[in-house]
Symmetry: C2
Subunit: 459 residues, 2 copies
């Protein structure tokens, strides 16, 4: 039997996609590129995947794990020689413990399904991001997904208590801890969180849940000057502390283009300010929280930290504010062709960094180039959309030089939440020392000596 026949014997006909059917699947979220792979394996259980990996290990067959295909760095991109492992048939929510506040899920469960299941018990899962309908828990874990509520609940790493992974040789490493405190030996799950499927294939996880807030307050503010911005961030932290859930900043370049010029939104605030900030708090007492939130905004206006502010008076208004921030279609319409990059750096260096980018943009990307900046500044995270004009491969490379180049000196990172995949691999040395890169290779060799798992990604 050939390798594919042996695999078919394990996962069944429905579990294996071959031939022309492979290219009928999309390679990524844009849907514009056909999938490439020797075949697509769709296991239903950890045991099936382990059996498949045993065969692949013996045959030296490289594999690429794929979740919801919402990544932005080609982390799930395969070649015609590689086997794509899709978790689309592993979508079972296995258990919820409302007292211990945990949920056990298979890797292919979409993020939004986790939110829905938690809500039925008055609980929430702390990770949320725009791609919630498509992205999977397994992909979130592999990429240590961040999102819009990191300031309150942390990244995926902070919301996963335990996990199960299939190693390169087919060994099942089950580390399904459900306890908040567990210092019994090395905490192995961290090897697999954020390592982009290069050290093991995550098949199941125990997620940590939190009590669902019963109140939510959202506002958008106009702020002039970077000192006022950091001053407002400090004020919001002091006043709201644990209740501060999001702190999203749109530079005027972003707000003017997306909220105003695109014609896709009813702008809640006029143009002409340096920054537009979405601040959101979550609490457990609607009346008190509303007063606290309004008081905090009043203080910001009084102290001159904010020039203007609009509090969302309804769920619809809240959604309208967030729609500006999450308007991927608007970004595509107004800026594409271009590239979307994410970086992180100390808050205190952000203005210097962005000023430098604006100065260098015409030289590196053309005098008609466009760039918009926004991000989760409370998490140190900036997103940048750069649209060089004219658009070509050299221009794209220059945009990467523009954005990544200054980071090393400023103590920044070439990836805040998008990870490395293929697209940022050549830039990784800007953020990590030779010793760190050597340690990563040492781990890769120790866990996957044949180099079969997500070959060429990250390292």
């Amino acid at each position: 039997m050939t390798l594919l026949e042996q695999i078919r014997a394990i996962v069944g006909d429905v579990g294996l996609v071959t031939g022309a059917d492979v290219a009928r699947r999309p390679a990524d979220w844009t849907g514009s590129t056909p999938c490439r792979a020797r075949a697509v394996v769709r296991p239903r259980t950890t045991a099936e995947l382990a059996a498949v990996m045993k065969l692949c290990h013996a045959a030296g067959q490289p594999v690429v794990p794929a979740g919801g295909l919402t990544g932005l760095v080609r982390g799930a991109s395969a070649t015609d020689e590689e086997l794509l492992v899709s978790f689309e048939r592993m979508r079972t929510i296995e258990a919820i413990d409302p007292v211990g506040r945990t949920m056990v899920v298979q890797a292919g469960v979409p993020l939004e399904a986790v939110h829905d299941a938690a809500a039925e018990h008055g609980l929430i899962y702390g990770v949320d991001l725009g791609a919630r309908g498509s992205c999977t828990i397994g992909g979130n874990i592999a990429t240590n997904a961040g999102g819009n509520t990191v300031i309150r609940y942390g990244m995926t790493r902070d919301n996963v208590l335990g996990l199960e992974a299939v190693l390169a040789d087919g060994t099942i490493l089950s580390s399904m801890n459900a306890l908040l405190k567990n210092n019994a030996g090395y905490d192995l799950k961290h090897l697999f969180i954020g390592s982009e499927g290069t050290l093991g294939l995550v098949t199941r996880a125990v997620l940590r849940l939190h009590p669902a807030p019963s109140s939510e307050a959202t506002a958008i503010l106009a702020i002039d000057g970077f000192d006022a911005l950091t001053g407002f961030f400090a004020l919001a932290g002091r006043r709201l502390d644990g209740g501060l859930k999001s702190f999203e900043v749109m530079w005027s370049s972003y707000y003017d283009l997306i909220a105003i010029q695109s014609g896709r939104h009813r702008p809640p605030l006029p143009t002409g300010h340096d920054f537009y900030v979405i601040v959101e708090s979550a609490g457990t007492d609607p009346e008190r929280d509303e007063a606290l939130f309004a008081g905090m905004l009043g203080e910001a206006l009084e102290q001159g930290l904010a020039r203007d502010a609009v509090i969302a008076a309804s769920k619809a208004q809240r959604n309208a504010i967030w729609a500006i921030r999450e308007d991927v279609e608007g970004q595509i319409k107004m800026l594409m062709p271009g590239i979307s990059l994410d970086v992180s750096l100390p808050i205190t260096k952000m203005q210097e960094y962005v000023d430098g980018l604006c100065r260098s943009l015409p030289d590196l990307c053309g005098k008609d180039a466009m760039m918009v900046v926004y991000g989760h500044i409370g998490d140190n995270n900036l997103h940048l959309l750069v649209a060089p004009r004219p658009w070509n491969a050299k221009a794209k490379h220059n945009a990467e030089i523009l954005v990544y180049g200054p980071l090393a000196v400023l103590g920044g990172s070439v990836s805040a939440e998008h990870c490395i995949g293929l697209d940022k691999r050549e830039w990784l040395p800007l953020s990590r020392s030779l010793e760190e890169l050597a340690m990563m290779r040492r781990l890769k060799t120790a866990l996957d000596p044949k180099g079969l798992l997500n070959r060429g990604k990250v390292l």
Copy 2:
């Protein structure tokens, strides 16, 4: 030159303790056991320690790292052949960033010094425990220290952004990330957090800080029945959410012995209840928080979840309540000789677990044996003091069988926050699978192939 002479040339006379001076130092926090070691090295910088480790690696010299010696599992215990590395001269707080809310420290800085330095900027560090005056940040990191505020701020792992470690061969691995979001390659710090000095020696760290709460409310409640206890825990979570800072439970066995019979305290509540719970919230608005807290307690009393409650009306009353929970001297006076054990298990299994221990105690530890139970139940963490009568090595071993034996079936762990060290090594297989133990050994071999770092600890 001998190895010790070469080391002396690096660290100077003051950096090396040899001969009879070694035994003049204490081996642990009790002060009753003299230190054993071939010598004690006291480097002042990462570079000094790296140079020392290069020599040790070449010579095959095993080393044991030591922090504040407050551990309870002999994790810093050395033999006459081993070199003890003490971080007592690496006590510099290098930097504080009040905007980014980070602090850079050397490994030997005591936990309390971190608290004090953060307070000067209106910030706090999220880890706090009884040994705060003696324990060091390096020891906290090596053991992933927990403590009294895990439910609010997480364990040490959640409060460390980056770190620097010296590897077995003397390589300096500097991973001093200061960013909340950083997905640029593997997150290497997690290898060193909680691995008890067996994979590398932590020399510096970047700590995450939080805004200091401006209000605090503390109460002690009397609760009858385990369902009422979990009901109250759920209520406190819903009402206080992010504000809930501590949820400490004392079983009646503990409260009666320490708060009442010891004669060391003025008991805030009478005997006769099943559980005594210390609940504490922290917030940013004293007046509002007080009302919220009192309302939550009123609801608990109304619903019959609590039988009685006392709110601390002053800092002195607050301290008096916590003194019962943290009364190590009282525990020693009333229960020693005996052993202190910590375990974790799902909240829903705790009553079944403790009932089982009470039934088995006379058989395994003698009919006059005593046992008290308390813990951070919101973190899944129970502490148990078992005093077998008569006290001898067999009785001690039986106490360990009593406490650790049932955990595997209940999904528990033999260490919540004390770690493994030497004392729990033989029990580790109760909590971890063969595959997990094999993976730990694989990591140990990859990072410390000669087995020089904290030999025989954990594995």
